[in-house]
Structures are given as structure tokens and as C-alpha cells.
């Protein structure tokens, strides 16, 4: 891995990484790339996020859906753990709470495959730093 | 010097920067009560954990009260030491401390000498609100051969911890547990005997309450005296005579040698002897050993261990047996004066009396608590009978004198009995740091050079400096001497020796700051180290007033060698007056 030798280096690196992520987010890499984040802080893991993440990885693969599943930190919705965020290409991300295997299955089948929302959506209620 | 101006109780004062409020107030004659705080100024020891919170004062502009013992004066500070808020806080905190303290003052060994008791009186505590609902923190009592820990009475002042860790670097005591059950104890709340404790007793010497006290042998001593089948001998250590008077209201530094002998006789000891006699004997043995090692060293004998270390101090012996196990062959093999006395008393003197050793009871009066431990060590017993049966402290002797209804102050001076009561000035100075080595030099010089000393006082070896070094000219042969008092200083010196950085021929170590005069068995100094200085002056005064001031000139010592021992380091002497050391590194056991 290359070292960051200067601030210019870092900026260049950032541009590249950001572009990569933006491309991914805008779904331009592949028409169908679905991005899923699983909240994997201690609270999430304690509530069972790990098997859900494994389930999602396995099932999306089995069902032939082009998706990337990553872990992330606490989303703040402790009352609704495990929580996952699903971003379909070209759409706003949606957060689902109380995700168990049954719910995960429903999310894959209904929302990811057909864009139909399912029960258990958590409305985001904060502003990001970028907007403020 | 940079100074700051401040106002204390409406009076302006200017003090050096860094001065605490407590000290500044003291300088103005305002005596803020302190409990955990302890300043042994002459020893360079200050204990100020700011834990008891009795010394709090009001500082204008500050949200809460400030502990005066550890808050530095600042420019423009306005301090009030006795507002109603302060007085209420002090009293409430004192009530809290007492609410978790046993109320058995009647039988407490510290009763009458207890800082907590004094503070309760001073703050006018008359009852402890809510005592009936107040749980007490209780712990198991710990009985070692020398020190009793009754830490139900611990008030977490941490003075003992400061002595044990900072001054002595022994590390036997530290705070354990949290919150209400926090207490000072050996690691894992083990007994002291299973800890690296050297029984130096410095913790006892500074403990403000009855949490740390000595094992009391006075009852056993009284029973022995009352037993007609026993002949009871008593020996008194050099430092005792310089401090005992304090227990009877005399000024620190008052010498009470004659009164002490008279009192011991009144109590009923059959023979009143002096450990000083054995101190002279120690010089004969240890001095000879030094010269022997020195001569062999000068002749190129590579197996010789130098420097020779003194071995009079039992806490010091315990310390190196635990911490310097690789150097066990370095200290002198000579027993301590207490043990030499016991050994000679139960052989030479018993023969003279025509009695068997178990018909004799040897009691020692010591400024020391480690002596209690020392006298019950197995190597100092013959067929289970110890050379010294009971070792009592200066404080215990004072109790005995009071119990026997003796008006100590009015006693006429009396002499010790012969033969084991005769001693020289060299023996007396064993009681102060540097004294043993000075006594050894006085004799070794004359033996080595064959010349008479012109100047007997080696003032370069005296003082309160923690580590002192001096080179003495032995007729062209420079002898390098090191002196340490306080085990922390001893550790520093020993580490220099171990690493080969120091080049000494002889080193004297005393475990207690100031030497035996500052021992753990002495009258409590209550944090006033000027008392130790006064005792030291008394010791040298006694020496200066003695007719004979060199050990080898003691006629009874000469007689002992002629009649019994032969010469120093003879086979008999070796058998009776020398010992060896053990590796006592403690393993820690966890239950």
C-alpha cells in the first residue's frame, strides 16, 4: 500500500475514493448494484446484526442480486436494532429496523427486487454535516 | 525568591510561591486542624493525599472548600479558615469518619496517643448522628510476630503507605479495594507475614489510630517476673534511654539511662543489663570481620566480598533477604546486639549462675518492632528455646513502668548490673544513624594501625542526610564508608553496589529514618521530626560523657573473651555470635 506523502497526495486519493463511491452510489458501475450497510456497533451486534449480515451476504448471492454489504457504526436507533440501510440505485437510502431473518428475506424479495417498501422503515430524523 | 501575597482570616501575608495555605496559616499562628497530613520535614517526607478533608478552608471565588494541606497559596487569594460553612463541613466530615470507626477507645492500644481521638475532642464531637443505621467496614485482623493490623480502625490517611513505599520502598502496604471497603493492606489482603514487610514498624510509628500497633508482650513479661522458677534478665537498647522520658512528659532529648535502670529494677527484673554491652561485642566481631576481609582483599584475594554491610538492624536484614537475594553473602555475619546478648546470656552468663538456659528469661527493651520478629526466628533458638524470649518496645516499657506505679521522674539514677551491663560510648551511638560504623571505625582503626586515635569523634559520619559517604584515613589507607538510613536510601546505595558503580569498603544501614532513635517502637513523634533530632543529640551527649568510648577497651568484653570466647571470630564466637542469611523472597499466594 502506498504511503500518503503529502496533502496533495491525500487530496488526490480522496477524489479518487469519493468518485468511486459516488459512482457506486449513483449506480453507474452497474445498473443493479444494491448497497446495504449493517449497523455493527456493540448494540447492533448484541441485538443480532452479525447473523443478519451473513444472511444478507449469502442470500443476495444465492438469489443473484448484485449487491455489496458492508458494516458500519451505530446509526442511533437503539430501540430498533438490528438496523440496516438499503440503497437502491438512483434512490434515497432507506433504513429498516427490527431486522430479523424473516424481515431480511422480505426486504430482499419486496424492496430490493421490486422496490416495494415493507413495514419497519425508520424515518431518518437528522441533518448531515454536509447540509448544515 | 518569588513570593505571593494573600489574605488569611483578614490578615495580609506574603509567602514564598508554592507555600500551602496550611503552612502559610501556621506561620501566622493560625492552627488549621489536619489529620491525614504529615510533614516529617527533617526526613524529607511529606504525606498529603488530601484525603481526610478535615483541613478544608474557604477560598473566595472557589466553588467548593479547599484542602489547605495541599492547596498552594496564590496571588490575591482570600482565605477564611473558620467560617460557619467550614466548621460545619469539618464537623460533618469528622462525624463521617467516626461513623466508620470502632468505638472501643477504652481498650485500644492507641488510646491517649490517638490523633483521631484528639481531633474528635478538638472538634467537639459529642454524638454521631445516625450511627444506629451506619454500617461499619470490617476486615480480618492480621497478627504478625511484630505488628498487628486492626484495619477496622484505618482512616485511609495513607501515612503508613507513604512510609512503606516512598521512604522504605518496601511496598508491603497500599490501598486496596474501592469505596467504602477501601483500606490499606498488603496485596490481595494477605497477612503481613506473607508480604515483603520487614517489620521496621515505620507504619506503626506514623499511624494516627489503633489500626497499626505492635504486638504487646508486657503481660508475658509480668508473668515471667512473677514466676519464681525463672530468672529474668532485661537488656535495653541504646536508643531507648534517649526517648523513654518523652512518655513521662520529659522534653525530647532527655537522657534517662539511670532512671530507666532503677525502674527496671523496681519492676522486678533479676538482672538489669544493657544491650550496649552486646553492641561493644558486635564491634569486636564485626570490626574484626571487616579487617579480615580488608586484609584479604589487599592481599589480592578475589573471593572477598566488599563492602561489608552492617547487620545490626533486623528490618534491614529482612529487607535484603527479600530484595537483594543475590547479595546474601555480602553483609557481616555478625548477629545483632540483641541476639548476641541473648546468646551470651544463655550460655556464658547462665553458666556463671549455674542455671540451665530454659530457667532464664531474656527480655529486651527495643526502640524497634522488627526485634520482635528477629528474636523468634528459628536460627536464634536452641532446642526451641529462644536466646531472647520477649522483645518489648520503648512504649511498652513505659506502660509497664506506669502499671507498676513507679514515679519515673522522681527515681534516683542507678547503674546497670555487671557483667553484661557495662558499655562504652561506642555502644551508645549505635542508636543513631552512622553510629555503628563510627564505633567500628574507632576500634578497627586502632587494631589495624596499632595507633591510638587522637580524635574519637568522627563527625563526618554523623547527620540526618539520607545517604552519607566519607573516606577515613587508616594511616595512609583510605577507607570508603557509606551510610544509609531509611530503607529507600539503603536500596539506592545497594543498587549502586550491585551495579559496581560504588566503591565502598563498609556500609552501615539502618532501616528507620534517623536510625534506632526513630524506630517503630519509640514514643510516637506524631509527625514532628524535630523530636528525632533531639534524641540524636542526646545519644552523642551520652557518648561524650562516657569514660570509655571504644568497644575494645570495655573491661568486661575483654574478660568475656579471656574467660569464654577466646578471640573475635573464634570457633565459639562463630557459633554463638554469627549467623547466616536466607532467601526470603515471598511468593504471592492468591486464594
Amino acid at each position: 500500500m502506498t504511503k500518503v506523502k503529502s496533502l496533495a497526495d491525500l487530496k488526490k486519493m480522496k477524489e479518487e475514493l469519493q468518485a468511486k463511491i459516488e459512482v457506486r452510489e449513483k449506480g453507474e458501475v452497474s445498473e443493479n448494484l444494491v448497497q446495504i450497510k449493517v449497523a455493527m456497533a456493540t448494540c447492533g451486534i448484541a441485538a443480532g446484526a452479525k447473523p443478519i449480515m451473513e444472511f444478507l451476504i449469502d442470500e443476495l448471492d444465492k438469489r443473484g442480486i448484485n449487491a455489496v454489504v458492508t458494516q458500519t457504526g451505530c446509526m442511533g436507533y437503539c430501540y430498533a436494532e438490528p438496523t440496516i440501510e438499503v440503497k437502491l440505485p438512483g434512490k434515497d437510502p432507506v433504513i429498516f429496523g427490527y431486522v430479523d431473518k424473516k424481515k431480511a428475506d422480505e426486504i430482499i424479495e419486496k424492496y430490493i427486487k421490486n422496490g416495494e417498501l415493507v413495514d419497519g422503515i425508520i424515518p431518518t430524523n437528522y441533518e448531515t454535516i454536509d447540509n448544515k | 525568591m518569588e513570593t505571593v501575597k494573600l489574605t488569611i482570616d483578614n490578615k495580609q501575608i506574603e509567602v514564598p510561591k508554592g507555600t500551602t495555605i496550611y503552612k502559610a496559616a501556621k506561620g501566622m499562628g493560625i492552627d488549621i486542624p489536619v489529620l491525614c497530613y504529615m510533614d516529617l520535614h527533617d526526613l524529607g517526607v511529606e504525606n498529603k493525599p488530601a484525603g481526610c478533608r478535615i483541613c478544608v478552608v474557604e477560598v473566595e471565588g472557589r466553588r467548593n472548600l479547599a484542602p489547605s494541606c495541599s492547596t498552594a497559596c496564590m496571588e490575591g487569594m482570600v482565605v477564611k479558615t473558620h467560617t460557619p460553612r467550614v466548621i460545619n463541613a469539618r464537623r460533618t466530615v469528622m462525624e463521617l469518619i467516626l461513623s466508620d470507626h470502632p468505638k472501643d477507645c477504652l481498650t485500644c492500644p492507641k488510646s491517649g496517643h490517638c490523633d483521631l481521638q484528639d481531633m474528635a475532642v478538638r472538634l467537639g464531637i459529642r454524638n454521631i448522628p445516625g450511627q444506629e443505621y451506619a454500617e461499619m467496614s470490617t476486615y480480618k485482623k492480621d497478627f504478625s510476630p511484630a505488628i498487628i493490623r486492626d484495619v477496622d480502625k484505618c482512616i485511609m490517611c495513607r501515612r503508613c503507605e507513604t512510609m512503606c513505599n516512598q521512604v522504605q520502598t518496601v511496598g508491603a502496604l497500599s490501598a486496596v479495594n474501592r469505596g467504602f471497603t477501601a483500606v490499606v493492606a498488603p496485596a490481595f489482603e494477605q497477612d503481613l507475614e506473607k508480604s515483603p514487610c520487614t517489620f521496621c514498624g515505620q507504619c506503626v510509628a506514623v499511624c494516627p489510630t489503633g489500626a497499626l500497633t505492635e504486638v504487646d508482650h508486657t503481660a508475658k513479661v509480668i508473668r515471667a517476673i512473677a514466676d519464681p522458677t525463672k530468672t529474668v534478665l532485661v537488656q535495653t537498647a541504646p536508643a531507648v534511654r534517649a526517648a523513654l522520658g518523652e512518655e513521662f512528659g520529659m522534653k525530647p532529648g532527655t537522657l534517662v539511662t539511670g532512671k530507666m535502670a532503677a525502674a527496671l529494677r523496681k519492676i522486678g527484673f533479676d538482672y538489669v543489663f544493657d544491650t550496649d554491652f552486646a553492641a561493644d561485642l558486635t564491634i569486636m566481631e564485626e570490626g574484626t570481620e571487616l579487617l579480615d576481609r580488608l586484609t584479604r582483599h589487599l592481599n589480592g584475594d578475589k573471593s572477598v566480598k566488599l563492602p561489608i554491610l552492617t547487620s545490626c538492624c533486623p528490618a534491614w536484614v529482612n529487607f535484603f533477604e527479600h530484595s537483594f537475594t543475590d547479595m546474601l553473602d555480602v553483609p557481616s555475619s555478625a548477629k545483632s546486639p540483641q541476639q548476641m546478648f541473648g546468646s551470651i546470656a544463655k550460655s556464658y552468663f547462665a553458666d556463671k549462675l549455674g542455671k540451665k538456659r530454659d530457667e532464664l528469661v531474656v527480655v529486651s527493651v527495643m526502640p524497634c518492632l522488627a526485634k520482635k520478629y528477629e528474636c523468634q526466628r528459628d536460627e536464634f533458638k536452641v532446642d526451641g528455646n529462644p536466646d531472647v524470649d520477649y522483645s518489648i518496645s520503648t512504649r511498652e516499657l513505659a506502660h509497664l513502668i506506669k502499671e507498676f506505679n513507679i514515679n519515673f521522674a522522681e527515681l534516683p539514677d542507678e547503674d546497670f548490673d555487671r557483667p553484661l551491663g557495662e558499655s562504652t560510648g561506642a555502644a551508645v551511638i549505635f542508636g543513631a544513624t552512622g553510629g555503628v560504623i563510627e564505633a567500628a571505625v574507632r576500634t578497627a582503626y586502632e587494631v589495624q594501625t596499632g595507633k591510638k586515635l587522637e580524635k574519637i569523634d568522627f563527625t563526618e559520619l554523623r547527620g540526618m542526610e539520607g545517604i552519607r559517604t566519607a573516606t577515613i584515613d587508616f594511616n595512609g589507607l583510605p577507607i570508603n564508608i557509606g551510610i544509609a538510613h531509611g530503607l529507600g536510601n539503603a536500596r539506592k546505595l545497594l543498587e549502586q553496589v550491585r551495579s559496581g558503580k560504588a566503591n565502598f569498603h563498609a556500609i552501615e544501614v539502618m532501616a528507620c529514618p534517623g536510625g534506632c532513635i526513630g524506630g517503630g517502637g519509640q514514643p510516637l513523634h506524631h509527625g514532628d521530626s524535630s523530636i528525632i533530632k533531639a534524641r540524636m543529640e542526646a545519644i552523642y551527649r551520652e557518648d561524650a560523657g562516657k569514660e570509655i568510648r571504644k568497644s575494645h577497651e570495655n573491661p568486661y568484653i575483654q574478660q568475656l573473651y579471656e574467660e569464654f570466647l577466646g578471640k573475635p571470630m573464634s570457633e565459639t564466637a562463630h557459633h554463638l555470635l554469627h549467623t547466616h542469611y536466607f532467601n526470603r523472597k515471598k511468593d504471592v499466594y492468591i486464594k
Partner: protein, 592 residues
């Protein structure tokens, strides 16, 4: 098209199930059931105006929707595309209807600065951090500012310590920077210990690099090349992610020697704590890192003069560090535009207790407790009545209804008898007994006191005992007096912050709920029905039919009575287990 119906507890209580049904039937009636989906969602956090219905994709936000409104929404909005104005949210300030939830003030209540990356990035991948401006701040500082300029930015931003004390961060850095020494240290205090608080853990688990980067900025400012994170060993995941982050940053050369070719060197190591609460106090923390007993020492000297290993040391809390990089990148003015006059920026709170949306929130300083509890937090569980909110953990106090509208900041909370603390916020309802609450916190401080100073070691124990006595109905008026005096003296005399604040839960409940104390002491009653010793089980002779079910099930045979005649409970024997109430089919047994 989607119709989202709030399924949060609050809305559900007010008929959201019926709303869903009504929508479904209305849609079916119009043959729209395949085109429009009705979805029950999690809480919108706007329970005050519930039930909430949101229509996607146009983000229309309807409030206080009744089941009978479903027909109109379907007819007007779904079919004709006209919003139903009367149900739109009315902006209270502008007196205007807001149709798009994105423009609603409510959704601007939370601003994520410290938590900016939590839940967005994969914390174990430095690339994602870099993509979101990661390590730009240290780069900017190293190339554009000298240490003093950087300190000035932090000072100007108004950032104050988030660990609880609220000391101005820039000033703290400045003091440490001015002390000369061959070695200095930056310490991150991650010894989070308040019961129910997990703000720092979330930051470390979700965005570890933000802390590492801020620590190196601090190192640059004060002249330290070494950073230490004191983290409790009970946070294994945070430790793991920090280790990964440190390794990655070192690999990229963002920690280590000559960072970005500027000649500045900084590295970070972890130090583990055993979870002692008092080790969050900075002097105790430093002693613990030095291998000594974790107990505080008198200040001064402050760590900035003599800290870790006797060297100048700057200690900041995790959340404080998490705020640093955005300040550098977006500027001090941006940061100081958020918050109140004396407390700038945001604060992360861990919302817990009897509240619907238990969770981690980040709100601007100056928000009111009411907004936090009733809007973001979704109000009180099970429709119960709000009673108190405890802020500041064991060091804080209980605030009541009358405090709900004061803007939250460091100074206001202290003035109200509580404190900001590290951000625990526990909401209590009418079922909570305030004496028991105070007792709970004292139990914690008794457990966590280090035992060094007498007021904390013994005083807190005595406070606990007094509270225990009161909850058992054995308290006297004298005890209430003692409670107050003891609390004041402990505050006045304890050595460290733990002891100085430990009586706060007692004092604030005494101030705000004195009636409740009186009820325990004088009437021997617990108004909340929580204190077991004060409860009495009684059988109503009118309702009792003498079925003997209760007597047969009483484990201690405290109930007697003849068949078919009213039974009675011997309260001296009764252990108040509640078995009889469960068995009684006639509701004849009650607790008094």
C-alpha cells in the same frame, strides 16, 4: 406510490392500525391496491403530532391523521394529486403549511457533527473515511497553520469539553502548549462510565479515525508526538476497530514519522482501563495509565503542567475530539453558529429510560428538553405521564416538567441543578419513585468511589443508607435534614469531580420532589408504588367471593379465610410477591 403510516408506539396507541386498514380498504375500493402500497414504519419521532402519514415519492407529511381521513387522502392526493392542506404540518413559527418533510424544522433538530460518519462508513476501512474528508483536517493544519493559529481556531469555535466538565478545549490546548517539556502527551479519555451512556463507544466503533486525526491535530498544537487512548477493556469492539484504524493509518503514513512530508510525527497507543468510573477523572486516569491505583490527586498541578509520567498532558474526551476535524475544515464561525452563546456546537446524548425512541442522538446546544424527549425521543412509553429526566449520569440531577423548556447547554443545566455530563439522558415516568432513583445513583457512586477521601468514601455510603431507610418507611424528618446537610458537605469537601457531584441526584430530587420524600417519611407511602416495603396488599371484602385461589397460591400462607367468605392478608407475613393478585379472578386484591 407508497403511503407510510407511522407505527411507533405513540401513534399506534392512537389508532395507526385502524388508519392502515382504512387506507387499504379505500385503495381497494378504488382498485388501487396494486399501485399504492401501505406501509407501517418505525417511529417518525414526531409523536406530538401523531399519527403521522407520509406519502412517497413526494414526501408529503400529514399530521394528526384520523382513520376517517384516509378516504380524503386517497381521493384527493392519490387520485387527483392534490395535497390535503388541512392535514399538512403547520410550521409554528411561520404559520405556514409545510408539505415536504425535508423542509420541516423537526427534521433539522438533529445535526450530526461528532456522529457525522457513524452509520455511514465502514469503520474498518480507512478509504471510506478518506473519501469523506478524512485526514484533510490534519493535512490542512500541518500545511496552512502554525500550532497557535490552530489553537485559535479551536478557541474561536467555542468548543468545550464533552466529557462533562465543559472546559474550553482551545484554552486547555493552549495551556498545555505553553508548558515546556521534552515530551508531552495527548490522551483521549475513552473511559466512558455513566450508566446507560455509550456515546463514546459509538464514535469509536463507528468512526475511529476521526478521533485519531483529532488527536494528532492536538499533538501538533501542544507539541506532543505521542497519543494515548485510555479505553475500558469492556469495549472489545471499539478496541478492535481502533487497532485496525491505527494500523491502517500507520500503513498510509497518517500516523508515525513525518506525516505527509511535513516533518510532524505523531503516533497513538491504546491503554486499557478496568472500567472504574473514577478513572474518567483525568488525574485518576493518568495514575491508572502509569500503573498506579486509579485514584485522583489534588489539582493543581493540572495534567497540562504535570500529567502522564510527570509530563504536560492534554486529556480530552472522545466526543470532544470527534468535533475537532469538522471545525478545522468548515471553520470556527460555522461551528460557533450552532448552539447557544456560551455552549457551541452539538451534543450527543444517549436517550434511555421510559421513552419511545431509545437511541443515540446528536442535537445542537440550545435545544430544549421538550424537543429532545417529545419530538426526537417520541415521547413517553405507553402513553404514561412524563415525570423527570435525569441528565449527567450519577453526577447529574433530575429535572422536571418545569425545566422542559430551558435551552440545553452547560450552564443552564448546572443552574437547574443538574449538569451536561457526558450525555446520558434517562427519562422517567409517573411509575418511577424519585427516592428510589436517587438511591439507585447513590448505589452506583458508593460502588464506584475510589475510597480516597472521607466524604466520598463514607459520606456517600451514609447517603445511601439514609435513602434506603426512607424507602423502607423508616425515615424521619431529621433524616431529611441530614440528607441535605450531608449532601452539601460532600459537594463542598470531596476531593474529585466524582465525589463533588455524587450528591446531585439527592439534592435535585429533594428540591424537585420534596413531596415525594415527605410521602415516604410522613405518610409512609410511596406515591409511585415502587417501594416494596411501603406497599400493602389488601383484599376488598366486597369483591372477594371466598374462592380460596389466593390462599392456595400464597407461598408463605399469609392469606386466611373460610370458603365462600371474604379472605384477608396478614401483612406481617406477606412478602408482596404478587402471586395472589395474579390468581384472583375477581379483582378483589389491590396494592395500597
Amino acid at each position: 406510490m407508497h403511503i407510510l403510516v407511522c407505527g411507533g408506539t405513540g401513534c399506534r396507541a392512537s389508532s395507526s392500525d385502524a388508519i392502515v386498514e382504512k387506507f387499504k380498504s379505500e385503495l381497494a375500493a378504488n382498485n388501487l391496491e396494486n399501485d399504492v402500497q401501505v406501509i407501517m414504519t418505525g417511529c417518525f419521532g414526531f409523536c406530538e403530532k401523531g399519527p403521522i402519514v407520509k406519502v412517497l415519492p413526494d414526501n408529503t407529511f400529514y399530521t394528526q391523521v384520523k382513520p376517517e381521513d384516509a378516504a380524503e387522502i386517497v381521493k384527493e392526493h392519490v387520485i387527483k394529486g392534490r395535497k390535503v392542506n388541512r392535514l399538512l404540518y403547520l410550521d409554528p413559527a411561520k404559520k405556514e403549511h409545510v408539505s415536504d418533510s425535508k423542509h420541516m424544522g423537526f427534521y433539522r433538530k438533529q445535526i450530526r457533527i461528532a456522529l457525522r460518519n457513524c452509520g455511514f462508513i465502514n469503520p474498518e476501512n480507512i478509504d471510506e473515511y478518506i473519501a469523506r474528508d478524512g485526514y484533510q483536517a490534519i493535512g490542512k493544519v500541518l500545511t496552512e497553520f502554525d500550532p497557535q493559529q490552530t489553537i485559535d481556531i479551536i478557541k474561536k469555535s467555542g468548543l468545550r469539553g464533552r466529557g462533562g466538565g465543559g472546559f474550553p478545549t482551545g484554552l486547555k490546548w493552549e495551556i498545555a502548549s505553553k508548558n515546556k517539556a521534552d515530551q508531552k502527551y495527548v490522551v483521549c479519555n475513552a473511559d466512558e462510565g455513566d450508566p446507560g451512556a455509550f456515546m463514546d463507544r459509538s464514535v469509536l466503533e463507528g468512526d475511529p479515525h476521526s478521533v485519531l486525526e483529532a488527536m494528532s491535530i492536538c499533538g501538533y498544537c501542544i507539541g506532543a508526538s505521542k497519543g494515548l487512548i485510555y479505553i475500558r477493556a469492556e469495549y472489545p469492539l471499539a478496541i478492535k476497530r481502533l487497532k485496525v484504524a491505527i494500523a491502517q493509518a500507520r500503513e498510509y503514513g497518517l500516523l508515525g514519522n513525518d506525516i505527509m512530508g511535513t516533518g510532524f510525527s505523531f503516533d497513538v497507543e491504546l491503554r486499557y482501563g478496568a472500567g472504574a468510573f473514577v478513572c474518567g477523572e483525568e488525574t485518576a486516569l493518568i495514575h491508572s495509565m502509569e500503573g498506579l491505583r486509579g485514584e485522583p490527586t489534588n489539582k493543581p498541578p493540572f495534567p497540562a503542567e504535570s500529567g502522564y509520567m510527570g509530563k504536560p498532558t492534554n486529556v480530552n474526551n472522545v466526543e470532544t475530539f470527534a468535533n475537532v476535524c469538522p471545525i478545522i475544515l468548515k471553520g470556527a464561525d460555522w461551528y460557533s453558529s450552532i448552539g447557544t452563546e456560551k455552549s457551541k456546537g452539538t451534543k450527543v446524548f444517549a436517550l434511555a429510560g421510559k421513552i419511545n425512541n431509545v437511541g443515540l442522538i446528536e442535537v445542537p446546544m440550545g435545544i430544549t428538553l421538550r424537543e429532545v424527549i417529545f419530538e426526537i425521543g417520541g415521547g413517553i412509553k405507553n402513553g404514561k405521564k412524563f415525570k423527570a429526566v435525569q441528565t449527567g449520569g450519577p453526577s447529574g440531577g433530575c429535572l422536571t416538567e418545569k425545566h422542559l423548556d430551558i435551552p440545553i447547554d452547560f450552564d443552564n443545566l448546572i443552574a437547574a441543578g443538574s449538569m451536561m455530563g457526558s450525555g446520558g439522558m434517562i427519562v422517567m415516568d409517573e411509575d418511577d419513585c424519585m427516592v428510589s432513583v436517587a438511591k439507585f445513583y447513590l448505589d452506583f457512586t458508593v460502588e464506584e468511589s475510589c475510597g480516597k477521601c472521607a466524604p466520598c468514601r463514607i459520606g456517600n455510603k451514609r447517603l445511601y443508607e439514609l435513602l434506603d431507610k426512607i424507602t423502607k418507611g423508616e425515615g424521619t424528618m431529621d433524616d431529611l435534614d441530614r440528607l441535605r446537610n450531608l449532601s452539601k458537605v460532600i459537594k463542598d469537601t470531596a476531593l474529585c469531580g466524582l465525589g463533588q457531584t455524587s450528591p446531585n441526584p439527592v439534592l435535585s430530587t429533594l428540591d424537585n420532589f420534596y413531596d415525594e420524600y415527605l410521602a415516604h417519611v410522613q405518610d409512609k407511602k410511596c406515591p409511585a408504588g415502587k417501594c416494596k416495603a411501603l406497599m400493602k396488599y389488601v383484599i376488598d371484602p366486597e369483591a372477594c367471593v371466598g374462592c380460596t385461589a389466593c390462599a392456595r397460591n400464597c407461598p408463605v400462607n399469609a392469606i386466611s379465610g373460610e370458603r365462600k367468605k371474604p379472605h384477608s392478608i396478614n401483612t406481617a407475613i406477606c412478602i408482596k410477591c404478587g402471586a395472589c393478585i395474579e390468581k384472583c379472578k375477581f379483582d378483589a386484591i389491590s396494592i395500597k
